[in-house]
Symmetry: C2
């Protein structure tokens, strides 16, 4: 490809939270690398559950790595959100046309969007006026089969690239862990109302001091057929548009009328 041809291709920033060595990010790179100029900036170690954490107490490292054939890639010592910030300021020196995050090993539907480093990276991009999408496969294992996820991630990215997207667009895309041919299609959904019921496991260390492991059971309270959990249970890929204005406008109106100080 000539340089002039390549320069007209959209710049696609790819990151994740499972770390640059995870099979999921390799699947995402493979799925879209002919759709634009792909640049990868991803954590140098797993960063699951980091939410929207940023690194403010110590400095960050950034190293080039040659692990994706023909694709510029950097590993970063920080969080997924740090990766997006560093990519724009110090790697690309511009905003990419879109930012993709994933493919995550494990679900980021419903309330998981809040804890997820994968989705926080996508949200960070949108804050920075870069349309973005996070992709997650409902299979935690390292050996997960990404065939269906790769196929649908590509379809969603193609749709994003041919649509005039609002610059603050964020899509939370989850893919059911079934054979690709069993996936029924794509559903635009709302975030299910669900949460984890915590259950810390308590153990004692060799000195007799207590420590706790976070565990919990996922509980879905949402009975609607318009949620991401419903779609995934019925073998659809779920796409939830996400926003970063967290204002609860309904409660705002109510408090304005009733709270007097």
């Amino acid at each position: 490809m000539s340089k002039s041809k390549k320069s007209k291709l959209p710049v696609i920033l790819i990151t994740n939270d499972d770390g640059i060595m995870a099979p999921g990010i390799r699947s995402l790179v493979e799925a879209v690398k002919d759709l634009g100029k792909v640049v990868v900036v991803a954590p140098d170690k797993p960063q699951s559950g980091m939410g929207h954490a940023i690194t403010i107490g110590h400095p960050l490292r950034l190293q080039p790595v040659a692990i994706f054939e023909g694709v510029e890639a950097w590993q970063c010592s920080g969080t997924p959100v740090d990766c997006v910030k560093l990519a724009v300021d110090k790697v690309l020196h511009r905003k990419p046309d879109i930012c993709l995050s994933g493919i995550n090993h494990g679900a980021n539907h419903s309330i998981n969007v809040i804890y997820s480093g994968t989705m926080s990276a996508a949200v960070e991009a949108a804050i920075e006026s870069i349309p973005s999408a996070g992709f997650s496969l409902l299979d935690h294992s390292v050996e997960a089969d990404f065939t269906g996820a790769r196929q649908y991630a590509r379809l969603v990215v193609q749709q994003m690239l041919k649509t005039k997207l609002d610059k603050h667009t964020v899509l939370n895309v989850n893919i059911p862990a079934v054979d690709a041919e069993l996936i029924k299609g794509v559903k635009i959904c709302k975030q299910a109302y669900a949460k984890y019921e915590e259950d810390f496991i308590q153990r004692s260390d060799p000195n007799g001091k207590k420590y706790f492991w976070l565990t919990g059971e996922f509980v879905n309270f949402d009975k609607g057929r318009d949620s991401d959990v419903w779609a995934l249970e019925h073998n659809y890929v779920s796409v939830v548009p996400v926003q970063f204005d967290l204002t609860n406008y309904v409660l705002k109106s109510k408090l304005e009328k009733t709270w007097k100080f």
Copy 2:
């Protein structure tokens, strides 16, 4: 106070992200300790900018500490969100009536709500059906004067305790860094549309290898008089009701009509 009287008092869980030794959490405890049975579970070290991070890769420690007179307090090795989860499951063995977070040293208005450990702890409580509020003073310094913040935090908590609040209520309360008598009152606001323009500082270590420090300039794009930034600039305490359903319903409707796969 007799035990029966005390048992009817609301249970108030207090946490923060600056760590249990920060002056801000002490101010919050002092501001509300006669309004209920206060229990503190807070990080054992600063956890600013941790967002909604949870600790999943290693275990957590929890130690009782006697630093607030007459108030049960525990320090936790985890994030602010971990503190809330552990407090409910392993300290209180019940849901508190309300959860308060702060008083943070530094602003958590506008987009800061997303990065803030203080606010993420409050959001976590609301996910767990505990009405909550995060408090932040617009002064980063350790020597900050919390007089006004303490006074208004108490007013907001009194209002919360006498109101029948929805169990998922989260309030993001910011207090201007001015003398208490200059504060004009409380305004219910929306989250301002603002962001940071990143500017990483690049340095070299003694081995000649590069490292980066995250810095950035806060830029407010919101010209409205209904935002938290506006209220604070005009010496009002801002109260933004926050939600954890991140679905962008406007974009959802649009994509449902226009996206075909």
